[in-house]
């Protein structure tokens, strides 16, 4: 049985005249014990999907279920068995670390001791600060505390809305290690992130943009679906290079990607790449390097979402 299912969920915000479509017929399913990533840029509708699944928001149409319960009809059962960590830190800043944890344990009718094994790995890191007010913690610490509070009642499904946004690189890596350990305990995890590099850490990912689910697959399969060959080019004058490549007739797309340019051709044939190389060589590039590369999730994401930008 799937731990989470979404079936044709539609949600719009705003009044009659200026409606904003936040989620557009989204459907996907998350298996039990799976770590599922919802990957998309800001404003794609990730948080709206989280709020619908955690029973905070009612969809305009479509149905969704969490742990076998319908989000609209059985919301009380869902609230008992899910953990939710909103994107914004939302614990009581004027209560201490320990008081926050105790409070969330007691309102779920449990105690810290009862489920300590679940949070032990995480809690030991913030335990030295247990008498500090939550508002006075660093960003990474806050995230750890929020995760502890979301876990303290032993949820079967865990919702993490952009848990690593605004957290430093080291803490991000640590955080994903923790999620892996939680997954090993059989907790289903739905996590959203705007960072593509975190996507590969999930079992399966759904790419979302402008409220639409673009693809649902494993990270490896997702990049395999990349339709053409992908090339990377690098030179000292990147700006001129971008203009030259884009103006070459056979090129389908060209984007700046880190310190190099990623581009594709309309047709994969040797003629195109040779022709481009010849054209570029006639320009005055001192250290031009072009090679074929393996596409990553970000490439795929740009590729499938390109029509939206055009």
């Amino acid at each position: 049985m799937a731990a989470i299912t979404l079936d044709n969920i539609v949600k719009t915000y705003g009044e009659k005249d200026q409606k904003v479509l936040a989620v557009d017929q989204a459907s996907f399913a998350v298996e039990e014990g799976e770590m599922f990533g919802l990957i998309g840029p800001d404003g794609a509708g990730k948080t709206t999907i989280f709020r619908i699944l955690t029973t905070l928001l009612l969809p305009d149409s479509g149905t969704a279920s969490v742990a076998g319960y319908d989000t609209a009809a059985d919301y009380t059962q869902i609230r008992n068995c899910v953990g939710y960590m909103p994107g914004r830190f939302s614990l009581y800043q004027d209560l201490t670390v320990e008081e926050n944890l105790k409070f969330f344990a007691t309102i779920f009718n449990t105690t810290i001791e009862e489920n300590y094994h679940l949070i032990k790995d995480i809690y030991v890191q913030i335990e030295p600060f247990k008498d500090r007010r939550a508002g006075k913690l660093s960003g990474g610490m806050k995230q750890k505390l929020a995760l502890c509070c979301a876990l303290i009642h032993k949820p079967t499904v865990l919702f993490l809305d952009e848990p690593t946004t605004g957290v430093d690189v080291v803490s991000r890596v640590e955080f994903w290690d923790m999620l892996k350990r939680l997954k090993a305990q059989g907790i289903t995890i739905l996590v959203s992130t705007p960072y593509m590099d975190e996507a590969v850490l999930c079992d399966r990912i759904a790419l979302i943009q402008s409220g639409k689910i673009l693809s649902v697959d494993t990270p490896a399969n997702t990049v395999k679906k990349y339709p053409t060959k992908l090339y990377a080019a690098k030179a000292s004058d990147m700006h001129q290079l971008l203009k030259d490549i884009r103006s070459y007739p056979g090129v389908a797309s060209c984007f700046t990607f880190g310190e190099s340019l990623h581009f594709t051709f309309r047709q994969d044939d040797a003629q195109n790449i040779a022709g481009l190389k010849a054209t570029l060589d006639s320009g005055n590039y001192l250290d031009l390097v072009i090679n074929e590369i393996q596409p990553n999730i970000e490439d795929y994401f740009i590729q499938i979402s390109e029509p939206v930008h055009a």
Binding site: T55, R79, F108, C149
Partner: protein
Amino acid sequence: MRTLKFLLQKEFKQIFRSKSIIFSIVFAPIIQLILMPLAANYEVKNIYVAFVDHDHSSYSQKLINRVYSSIYFKAAPYSASYDDAMHLIEQNKADIIVEIPQGFEDNLVRESHDKLYLAVNAINGTKAGVGSGYLGSIIRDFNQDIQLQWKQPGHFAEAQTIDVVTNNWYNPYMSYFLFMVPGLMVSLLTGIGAFSASLNIVREKEIGTIEQINVTPIRKYHFLLGKLIPYWCLGMIVFTIGMLVSRLIYGIVPVGSIPLLYGFLAVYLLTLLGAGLLISTYSDTQQQAVSVAFFFVLIFNFISGIFTPIDSMPEWAKVLAYISPISHFAQVMRMVVLKGSGWSDVLPHLGAVFALGVVLNTWAVLNYRKTT
């Protein structure tokens, strides 16, 4: 019940950690109760009277002395003509002009009557009204004295024989504080009560903590009770502090029963907090909540009868005053503190406040949504 216990624990912890709440609950009422009755005093003193004496007789002198010897009046600079005196009023150096006509003494002695002219600066209506009233009674006294002096022994009947003596019940010395302090306590308590609970809930909305609460199995009435009970207790504490201040500083001891006051207060706070909760369910930010609460508190304070009598208001205001819990509480406070009214006298007010409380609280619970 267990959930409620932990919610209350958390709420009280937060309240006692916030310095601003302790200030607004303990110190603000004391300071306000000490300052406000002194400032909002309707007793009029220091009225400057300018005499324009065209007679320069011993009678006119007697009248002037009598007026100036009163504690309410002070002498404005001497002026020789009415126009001079009018300048004093324009410069705000005089409040009332009394013009004594030529032949004042002669006419009084011979004809037994004469006319005085009074001109009052009515920019400050209260000062003008009260001032001319005081002055009028002094002149009447003066007149009576002269009449008695000049009447022939055989004409006693012509002297004024009906002497009206007023007896001020429940406040024999017309103490302004005795009347105003209980009213101001109501006004203070209302301000604190209407704002505190609604601000607290909206703050949880602003910070986002309500999001985390809403995905838990907490029931909404648990959540609302968790907000209502702490502020209900704080209201009781503020009232107790207010009672102590009015006893120690103004020497006001309620004539009626103190348990009755607390009983009424218990219901009143419930209604007031219900209004606060209702506002909070409609507002998303603290600013919105404050604006709305301020609007209602201000209006209902003015028509509550604390500052001006309800009986002299227009009909529509009377209807509003009847609905408003503030006016009921203000009346009950004065009834019990000054007059010593008992349970049966208070019952209609209690009923009205209770009914409104039920309406407001039910409305708030129904309108509070864990889901948007």
